[in-house]
Symmetry: C2
DNA sequence: TAAAAAACAAGCAAGTTTGTTTGATTGTTT
DNA sequence: AAACAATCAAACAAACTTGCTTGTTTTTTA
């Protein structure tokens, strides 16, 4: 009673059917992971205590211990949770734009760059960075984080390729992709910069221009190769 | 006795003269700040306890409390310490290269980009990032960090301008500078990436190429303007 | 040289956080 | 209905960290 009123965990509780218990259990689990993620964003990884997570999730600490026997086990679960969430969010972001089958226009490129910027400004990105930062000096966390991070990069690149088939065969794809990703990360993590927004906007303008040039040059050289055959 | 043998704080202790106490005091102070910085790198900001700092510095906790009455006061001092250190390191890095007065060559640009990469791989950068990361969710720390960060960016840009007078009058300077800095930061903070070194190398190649193009175009347009006059 | 100031060492008390236990309540499945 | 799973509540000890306090030593100054 006090639980549901405080946080309304059961947002859309299914009617009582067979096997509801499992669903309910999964819901609390998700509520806990979601609460942990929120705590990361609001107070950072290090200050996120088990009691705070439980409070935020509207769950007793005892109940939480039932699902996750230790603080570390929660953190590990959040890593997996965020991994899936971030991939899902990327798909949703990409679903909004349908790329033309023909050549990319200036506007298309500009659009995708801005989307990449939006992506690193989502809450999930911040929470993920908190874990990544903590992993640097926490061996146990790092052991879990490292393969996840590598898998994320792999899947992320793969998805990018499928969304932009235009780049598919160009040798410049991977460096260009890295250029964008590293740059976005650097900008996202520079919260304290002076005139950040204006500077970011300018850099994004530049980036779009650069990508367009790379794209054009690659196209030309490809056409050159084909005609040379 | 146990102190000096454990860590050799007094690296080059001056002979006993008048006012030695002040120097010795400053040395312990520096030893503590240096120890804190090392701790940030090795175990992270959050796990850096006052006891650990004191141990690392070869100083008793009581002595440390005499210099810094609280943990936070140490952290604040480290911020100022790192601010100066990083500016000094940048100057030292730039002192190694003497730019020609004439136009920049491809090699010059390539060189400075690689130097920027070296810069974000120094210990001081990692330690600084630890503080920056902690500042995001710690208001008290943030209040100290924010003006320092802004001052650093300002001075950094200013130094860059004086080292590369060639860029001085080009309107493309600031976005190009930001492009480099944000990118370096993003790459430096991507420790867990697969094939990181190879990818970074490629991106740096690309960046050097891009900067060369920007530089050439700006030069041309400037010459164009002058001849138009 | 004697007094004052600075630097240092060691230990203690209060507060936090974690992981655990114990026991009760509620809801589900067979 | 009986067995079972999930949840909740409260309290506990152990470990850790912090800030403080009490002396001791060293250096400077009068």
């Amino acid at each position: 009673m006090a639980r549901t009123s405080s946080k309304e965990v059961a947002a859309k509780a299914p009617k009582r059917e067979a096997g509801w218990q499992a669903e309910k259990s999964a819901m609390t689990r998700t509520a806990i992971l979601d609460a942990a993620m929120t705590c990361f964003i609001e107070i950072g990884y290090a200050n996120t205590t088990t009691a705070l997570i439980a409070n935020h999730a509207g769950v007793s600490r005892g109940a939480m211990m039932h699902h996750f026997p230790s603080r570390m086990s929660v953190m590990k679960a959040v890593i997996a949770y965020l991994h899936e969430l971030r991939l899902k969010e990327y798909l949703e972001l990409m679903a909004d734009i349908d790329m033309p089958d023909a050549q990319l226009t200036n506007k298309d490129i500009r659009n995708s760059v801005e989307m990449a910027w939006n992506y690193v400004n989502m809450p999930s990105f911040i929470a993920y960075q908190e874990l990544l930062g903590a992993s640097r000096t926490d061996p146990e966390l790092k052991a879990v984080m490292e393969p996840v991070e590598k898998d994320f990069e792999k899947q992320f690149l793969q998805m990018a390729k499928s969304v932009f088939p235009h780049w598919q065969k160009l040798p410049a794809l991977e460096p260009a992709h890295d250029l964008v990703q590293f740059l976005m990360k650097g900008m996202a993590l520079s919260q304290m910069s002076t005139r950040r927004n204006a500077r970011v906007k300018k850099v994004i303008d530049y980036l779009a221009l650069i990508l367009m040039e790379i794209y054009d040059e690659s196209i030309e050289s490809r056409l050159g190769d084909e005609s040379a055959k």
